[in-house]
Every structure is written in C-alpha cells, then in structure tokens.
Amino acid sequence: MNKLFKSPRKLLSYTLLITATIMALGVILVAFFGFNKSYQFGGYYEINIDYLDMEKKDEYINGIDEILNKYGYTVDHYTMEGEKSFTPTLCVRYESNSEDDAKNIKTDIISKFNIDEKSTLLSVDKMSSTYASHKIANLLIPMSILLVGLFAFGWFRRNILYGVAEVIAYLSTILVGLSLYALTRTMISLSSLSLLFISALLSALIFTYFSVNAFSKKNTIHSEKKELSDLFCDTLSANKFITILPASAILAVFAGLIFTFNHSLMHLGLAGIICICSIVWTSIFVTGSYFVSVVNAESKREKKVLSRNNTINNEK
C-alpha cells in the first residue's frame, strides 16, 4: 500500500483512468441495452389467474409459458399465493410494452383453459411504475441534502478541498456502482438502489475515518514531519484488520445469497458485492489518492514559498 501511495498523483491518474473506463463502458451498455430493471419500474405485464384445481398448477404455468413464447415473450417471474385457499392465485410477470399482445395473450389463455370470458378469475394488466418512481423521488431528495451537508461539513471542518473529497467519495460510489450494475446486468430494484445509496454514505464515512486518523497522527510530535501520504498509508495498514473484519463478514453474507439460486436473491447478493467493491475502490483509492495528492501539492507549494523567503532573508 505504501508503494501505491508513494506517488499519489500517479495513483490518482491510474484510478481515474480505471474509473472513467468503467463508467464509459457502463454508459455504452445502458445506451444500447438499458439497465436490467425489475418489474417495479414498469415495462412488465402481470397475469393473475385464480384456479380451482391444485393439481393443475404446473399445467397452468407451462401453458402460460407456451402462450408467451408464441408472442416472443418469456416468463420473467411467477408466484403463487393462497395455496391452502379455496382458489389459489397464480401470478406471472413478463416483460412487454404491448397492449395488443396483452389482449391476445388473455384471449389465448381463455381458450386454452376454457375460462369463462366474462369471468373475473383472469386478468392481464400492465404493471405501473408509479410506486417505484415515487420511492426513487423520495430517495433523491435526502440524498441531495446529504451531498450538500457532506461538502459543508468537510469545508467547515478543514478546508474546501476536504469538502470536495467528501463529495467525490459519495458521488463516485454511486456512479461506479451504477456502472457496475450495468456491466454485470444486475437487476435494478428499489432494494439494490437503496443499498447503493447507503454504500455512498459508508464510503464518505470510511474516507473520513482514515483521513482524520492520518491528520490526528500528523499532530503528534513523532509524526509531524512525516508526509500526509505516508501517514495515510500507515493508517490504512494499521487499521486494515479491524475494517476488513466486518466488511468481509458482510461480503460473505451477500455472497451466500448468490448460492440460494433464487432469482431475486442472487441479484441482491450481486448488488451487495458490487456496493462493497465500490466503497473500497472509491473511498480509499480514488478519494484517498485525490486528497493526498492535493494536500501534498499544497504543502510543496508552501515549502517553496518558505524556502524562497529564507533565501531572500539570507541575501539581505
């Protein structure tokens, strides 16, 4: 780690290059294919069918799958409710934006399973994205307030550069995380987005922790002559274990979700792993190298001014 931070400007240029590459690839993928959005964001239709005979559950699922394939769709997700009920409900979701196809699919299901056309036992409805949009709007406002708050905190606490560093830690986690979601085709849902926004806060937190530790060491007699980059590295090395311990435990929890082989849980696990990687990358490497290189440049400028003043005084 000391070697990496020996020349922080070089490290910064490498980390920015890698980060920019990830974001660029993410943008290209989103431009062509969009995000892998969950049904919460719309673009899905939901088929609800109440059936009387429990034995026919598989017949209904396979039959609906066949009908959807005929129109070029596939079953994205299905659930069953009320299995002990008099009439359990099968709920099937498929990705589509076509109202005409939905009507045709409903007609085909009616004829295939001999359902009464006027019956209310079958519905094919478009899933609204209003709920998800509303929730995202609810999330954006506090996140924006937090962004301003972090900048103000950093500025008043130390200087404007520190405030900028806090903002970089926060924003870059979100951008890198979204790009990795796009690259890995991780499903974007309200849960994965909430996880990402919480990770952004944790990223700012971790950067604050390591940087303030370095500053507090600089204020001691034994380390006041050390460069901040060295102190930052020393802090990273000294506190490595106590930060890795809980982080790796949480990583193991998310990795465990992948092995449940459940569609939504796997995507949630993947989202969690991406968030942890984003936190580590942005808080330590991107923001750390930015802040250390800026502070070192400032201190070099100060030293130059001091030595020039000394030279002038000596000449006098």
Binding site: N48, D50, G82, K84, S85, F86, T87, T89, S119, T120, L121, L122, S123, K135, N138, L139, I141, P142, M143, I145, L146, G149, L150, F153, R157, E166, I198, L201, L202, A204, L205, T208, Y209, V212, N213, F215, S216, N219, T220, H222, A238, N239, I242, T243, L245, P246, A249, I250, V253, G256, L257, T260, N262, S264, L265, L268
Partner: protein
C-alpha cells in the same frame, strides 16, 4: 484521571450490570406498555417479514348502489391496524368480488382464535348497545339506563371535547324502542360488528334526546383514534357474505431480509466476542454499554410515532454497531501506542482518548448528517433508517466518549497497575518504543 473508591465502583458496576441483564431479558420477551405493544429484538425481526404465523380471511361480497370497495378496504385496514399494529395487517382486493385480509399474529394476541373472531366480526352486524354483558337488549323504564333495541346502521362518527373530557359521537339510524338517558361506564356494553367494547376505557355513554346519536366520553384521548376507527369500520360500504368467509392459516416463512438481519446480528455478536478476547476489561465495559444503548434505541424506535421497528432498522443498527466497534478498536490501538511510548496506563488512556476524539467526532458527525437527511427529508422507511442512524450516532458517541471512560475509571479502583487486564504488552522499566 479520577479514581473512585472501591465501594462506589462496586455500586456502579452492579447498577450497570442490572440494567444490562434487564435489557437482555427484554430483548427476548415482548411486553405491553399501556396501549403499545413493545416488541422484543427477535420480535422486531419477525415483524413484516412473514416470520409470524398469519391468519387470513377471504370475504365474498355482493355489489349494490352503495358499494365502495376502496373505502371498505381502507376502513377495514384502519380498524385492524388499530387492533393488531401497522406492520401486521394487509388488506387487498382479489378477483371475483372477493377481499382478502392477512393478519400476522402479534405477540400480544392470545391466539389465532382472537384474530379469527375479530375478522368474523366484519360480517356479522353493525352497532348494538346493551346494559348487560350477554349482548341482549333489556328495556326498562328507567331514564338513567340507556337502551337501544337491536342492531343499527352507523351513519357518521366524529370526535369532540368538553371541559377536559374527550368524546366520540356516533350517529345511527333511528328506529324502534330507543330511549334517551345516560349510562355510567360500568353498565354499558357496546358491540360493533359483533365485537364487544366493555367499559374499561370510557367513563360514560349518553344518548341524545332525539335518540339518533350517542356519545362515549373518555377522560384521556388515548383510545380515541382506536375507537373512532372501529366505529367507522362499522360503516363499511360493502355487504360481506358471512356464509362464505374462508379462513387460512399460514405458518412463518422468513424472507431474505430476515436472514440478512440475523447474519448482521451474529456478526455484531462475533465482533463483541473478538473485542473481549483482544482488549479484555475495557472491551467488557464497552460491550455492556453498547448493549444498553441498543436496548434504549429499540425502546425509543417503538415509542416514537414516526418510526416502526422492523428489519430495516435492525440492519441499520447492525451496521452502526460495526462502525462503533471500529472506533472502539481504534481507541484501544492508540492506548497501546501511547503505552509503548513509556506512559503509565492511566495517562495512556487519557492521551489516547484525547487523540482519537477528532476521529470519533468526525465519523459520528457524518453518520448524524446522513441520519438527519433521511429522517427529515425522507418518507416511509427512510424516516426509520434516518432516525436509527442519527440516534445510533448519538448513543455511540456517549458510549465511546463518556461511558467507557467512566467505567474504566471505576475499574481502576480495583486494579490499576496490571497491564494484562487491559491487553497491554509487557514492558520493562524505562523501556520506550517508537
């Protein structure tokens, strides 16, 4: 550094130990505080995540000109939430003129039959007031007795106040042998949708002279909302068929979030064990105080009207506990560094606390900022997350900056010179390490 006497320190340790023990018991045992159900830690994890057994009812209804399904769902939901808690109830429309109600069995419910009886009440009638507990009307020619004959339809419900008392006025259809008068609370039995409201919570019931409204008077507004919702549910604009109600009993089915919150709780426990093994006596103080602050936080989250204790708050709390652990470990590492510079144990602790003050304050300020942003500007679950973050940051600050230091001072009264109790390395006389 102030050292306390052994007696004083012993008393302080006993007090904190008792608080810790009581809090630990409350973590596993739910209880009722007045009108509130206070969930245990495990109960909180079970809430709204299918970890409780569920009683469901499916009602069939027939439509007429007064049918308003959405309003009916709203009223039924409010009535059930008032009885069983917000997180425990789900009401929604099914196809074929059916409504489904799911009630997760709350900890204070006596059993599934209590829930079933309440659910059945939606179909079996509207309003009845009698002067005996058997539920039959008993008409007497005594103007101090209030009598309403048979079942009536509720037309409107409103609240009012009069000289420090709180009342709910219910208007109903006039018919039959109603008489006017007043009844002292102990003699009035009100039935709404076949569910009895005995007189424990109200002072009196009075009927107007026109015999079209009655008012229930309470000495406090504690039960107003609950009774109002229940009476309004008697106005459900939906004819539910009592013959075809179907009850379904579903066993607990934990979701992914449940497992994540259990995992995070176990991780925090493991960190506590690691801290005690690594840092010994100061870590024991820290673990006790951290747990006491957790119990206090769980209590506050349930007491506050804008927060709901559930999986989301448990996960947020777990993450904050990990941050707290990292800060505590940082202090202890600093103590070791100061000690190896040749300082005494007390001076090492003092200087370490001073030097790590900025780290703790800055980290917890960032948490507080995040918490306040979510709590003030967010909605629904974000308010709970924000409140949990902000309160955790505050309590962590108290634990790390004041609590651990205070208890360490108490411990010095018993043994202040043996470095092994503080997990500090052996140091020969005059040795200094840089």
């Amino acid at each position: 550094m102030n050292n306390y006497s052994k007696t004083k320190s012993t008393i302080i340790f006993i007090i904190f130990g008792l608080i810790f023990a009581i809090g630990t018991i409350l973590s596993f045992v739910p209880m009722r505080f007045g009108s509130k159900d206070y969930e245990s830690f495990l109960g909180a994890m079970a809430l709204s995540n299918d970890c409780t057994d569920t009683v469901s009812a499916i009602y069939k209804y027939t439509e007429d000109e007064n049918t308003d399904v959405n309003r009916a769902i709203d009223l039924m939901g409010k009535s059930l939430e008032g009885k069983f808690g917000k997180n425990s109830v789900n009401v929604y429309k099914l196809s074929d003129n059916r409504i489904r109600v799911d009630v997760s069995k709350p900890v204070t419910a006596s059993g599934e039959s209590e829930i079933e009886e309440y659910l059945a009440g939606f179909t079996s009638g509207r309003l009845k007031i009698t002067n005996n507990s058997s539920g039959t009307a008993n008409i007497e020619e005594n103007k101090n007795l209030l009598e309403i004959d048979g079942w009536k339809d509720i037309e409107s419900v409103s609240t009012k106040t009069y000289k420090g008392s709180y009342g709910i006025e219910v208007a109903f259809t006039k018919s039959g042998k109603n008489t006017f008068g007043m009844m002292i609370g102990g003699n009035a039995y009100i039935y709404v949708n076949n569910k009895a409201f005995p007189s424990d919570n109200y002072n009196k019931v009075e009927l107007t002279s026109e015999a079209t409204t009655f008012t229930i008077w309470f000495s406090s507004n504690e039960y107003i909302e609950y009774y109002k919702n229940t009476f309004e549910s008697g106005m459900i604009p939906l004819h539910l068929d009592s013959e075809t109600v179907e009850f379904i009993y579903t066993k607990a089915n934990p979701t992914a979030l449940t497992y994540i919150s259990i995992a995070i709780s176990l991780i925090v426990l493991a960190l506590y064990v690691y801290a005690i093994v690594k840092f010994r006596v100061p870590a024991i103080m820290y673990v006790v105080l951290s747990n006491i602050s957790t119990y206090l936080l769980l209590f506050l989250l349930q007491a506050m009207p804008w927060t709901e204790l559930g999986i989301v708050s448990i996960i947020t709390l777990g993450l904050m506990k990990m941050v707290e652990f990292i800060l505590f470990a940082t202090i202890q590492k600093r103590v070791k560094e100061e000690y190896m510079l040749g300082k005494s144990i007390e001076t090492s602790f003092e200087d370490a606390n001073k030097r790590t003050l900025s780290v703790i304050l800055d980290v917890l300020t960032v948490c507080l900022l995040g918490g306040l942003s979510f709590a003030i500007a967010g909605k629904f679950e974000l308010v709970t997350i924000g409140t949990t973050l902000a309160l955790s940051a505050f309590f962590s600050g108290m634990v790390l900056l004041l609590g651990v230091k205070y208890l360490n001072n108490c411990y010095y009264a018993f043994n202040s010179t043996d470095a092994s109790f503080y997990a500090l390395p052996e140091r020969t006389e005059g040795e200094i390490n840089e």
